[in-house]
């Protein structure tokens, strides 16, 4: 239904337009190889795997960009895990820009927040967890977004129909909970189930060195809680999507070489109201060792007042990271980081590196190591999932 409305909108727009740009396609095709350093916790889980992914974007604009249409399909075919193989429409939307307001209708992607180690405030889009455990890959979200620009800041209003369930690896997949998530039997707290229409509002502005955003979201939680159950004799986790209200603040102060960052949320609807926060800094050193290399030092504290009962593994943790930008023709970059649980010393280490080859190719390396994981830490299910992946992408 919503899609039909969108297509009609787009169609009407097409037929009444005068000055249109040529539409253009761009995107990438990538091959990924992932190797695991240990045998899996569960014998059913696979070992090394290869997969292919592709994303294309079609963009067309009219009236010098005042009206635009965007379509971004994404697909992955995974050699081992059928649930990691998936297709998603990341974007399919139409935007109309006016003097001090703009409207976007359709499937879109929105990012809120400032911190690096986790993204508490970012809530509009569902996490495409099978893509990456870092939570930065998102599924397309159907939305009606109205934005106003005023002297005192920008206001965004969202209506979000068509809830998307989080993606999870299948029982043969790696980087999953010990009991696999049974995605086919998700439950909803709201009687409307996944048809509940969510809403959100955000105010954001910059004054001097400060960038600030205050948001409120009311609707189905993107993050489920889990109910253990049996399915065909196997223990599974049933995702339960509750209705929540989340108020949030994100703040960044850009003071010379220091970026000071804070993300703070208060959420109700999943048990007692709780507060979670990420706070820290990024300090940049330019041209280190008399070379063109820039080095960024990142430190963030991750807090959740539910402590051990938190739905995330990061309730009293410290993130330390170093970002190297080589500033060469190949745009070579490396980010190495570690999250340490301050209570039980569980550690997650990660390395992400990338470099362009020629004009159209790019190679990405990613590795994650889970070490010293405490039995009570929710990361214990990833204990034997240390991995490294190489991706070669061709851009068009």
């Amino acid at each position: 239904m919503w899609l039909r409305v969108l297509f009609i909108l787009v169609f009407i727009n097409h037929s009444t337009l005068v000055s249109a740009s040529d539409g253009e396609w761009s995107g990438y095709i990538a091959a990924e190889w992932r190797t695991f350093f240990e045998s899996p916790s569960d014998v059913a889980q696979h070992g090394d795997t290869t997969s292919l992914s592709a994303q294309a974007e079609y963009y067309r604009e009219w009236e010098g960009g005042k009206k635009s249409f965007r379509f971004t399909p994404f697909v992955r075919v995974d050699g081992r895990d059928s649930q990691r193989s998936h297709f998603d429409i990341r974007e399919l939307n139409w935007t109309s820009v006016h003097d001090d307001w703009e409207l976007t209708a359709g499937i879109g992607k929105v990012f809120w927040g400032v911190t690096e180690s986790q993204h508490l405030v970012d809530i509009i889009n569902q996490t495409d967890l099978v893509e990456s455990t870092d939570g930065e890959e998102k599924l397309g979200q159907l939305m009606l977004k109205l934005s106003f620009t005023r002297d005192w800041g920008d206001v965004d209003l969202f209506l979000l129909p068509g809830f998307r369930e989080r993606t999870f690896p299948s029982a043969v997949g790696r980087l999953r909970s010990i009991a696999a998530v049974d995605v086919g039997h998700a439950e909803y707290a709201s009687t409307q189930g996944k048809d509940h229409i969510d809403a959100a509002i955000r105010w954001s502005t910059s004054f001097g060195d400060w960038d600030v955003g205050v948001s409120h979201f009311s609707g189905t939680s993107r993050e489920p809680r889990f109910r253990p159950a049996l399915n065909g004799g196997r223990s599974v986790l049933i995702p339960v999507y509750e209705t929540i209200d989340q108020s949030s603040l994100d703040l960044q102060a850009t003071k010379d070489d220091w970026l000071w960052k804070l993300e703070l949320i208060s959420r109700s609807g999943q048990g007692d109201r709780y507060t979670a926060a990420t706070a820290g800094f990024e300090y940049s050193l330019y041209g280190v060792f008399e070379s063109p290399v820039d080095l960024g030092i990142i430190a963030e504290y991750l807090y959740d007042d539910r402590k051990e009962a938190a739905s995330t593994p990061f309730e009293d943790d410290l993130f330390l990271g170093a970002r190297f930008a080589l500033n060469d023709e190949a745009s070579s970059e490396l980010l190495a980081g570690m999250i340490v649980d301050l209570d039980n010393s569980s550690r997650v280490m990660s390395v992400e590196a990338s470099r362009r080859i020629g004009d159209n190719w790019k190679i990405n390396l990613e590795a994650r190591f889970f070490s010293n994981i405490d039995d009570k830490d929710s990361l214990v299910s990833f204990e034997n999932d240390d991995f490294m992946q190489l991706e070669l992408a061709w851009y068009f």
Binding site: K109, V110, T149, T254, L259, G287, N360, Y395
Partner: protein, 259 residues
Amino acid sequence: MKLISLLVVSVLFSSPFVSADSEKKGLAIAVEVDKRDTGFGDTTANMTMLLKNRHGQESTRYIRLRTLEVEGDGDKSMSIFDRPRDVKGTAFLSYTHKQGSDDQWLYLPALKRVKRISSRNKSGSFMGSEFAYEDISSQEVEKYTYKYLKDEACGVDTCFVIERDPVDELSGYTRQVAWINKKEYRPEKIDFYDRKNTLLKTLTYRDYQQYRGQFWRANEMFMENHQTGKTTLLKWSNYKFGTGLAARDFNKNSLKRAR
């Protein structure tokens, strides 16, 4: 030995001569350069960057630029990257200020994320090229102190040769020597001296074209790094003036949908 002492003597004795008068004249030239480029309102242009290393290997970047003149302060600008293709859609918003540090935001299209970034990286390379951020950012009079050195022939015309010293201690340069066309008050060539005061780079402006009967824009800017042998050629095309851009085209919302 004799030569060195001669040098020392000449340096010692040359300083009194470059005092008040030459500073006044240098500043007056810079002010006139700025004045003649005032009133352009807004511009859009396409830029191709051709990077070449000393082995002759080349790579190319395509960038589109939008600039808005701000009365009483530095310009606002937006750069949109078209190539290399892996950074396509990345956009950079900058508010330059006559005094104090600039405001800069970067838009990362894969995450749809707008990041406020530190503007302290003056001397860093822009997109792996031989242009530093401070070379391509809006050139405000207040960002340097000036000394008039001499007049010298430059091509068919005559140039003022002025020295300009960056005010900002974060600059990668101790000084720049600029050849300013006496008739049109536009730069023809700039020598950049690094922090050790050794000649680092030379920027040459080529193929100037006048727009709206006033504003001179070079179709090519060639930067040569004398220390590494690398070069970057900026080719400008499709210059447009007075396109109707306004402040609302230079905010975070317009950054997110920049194409």
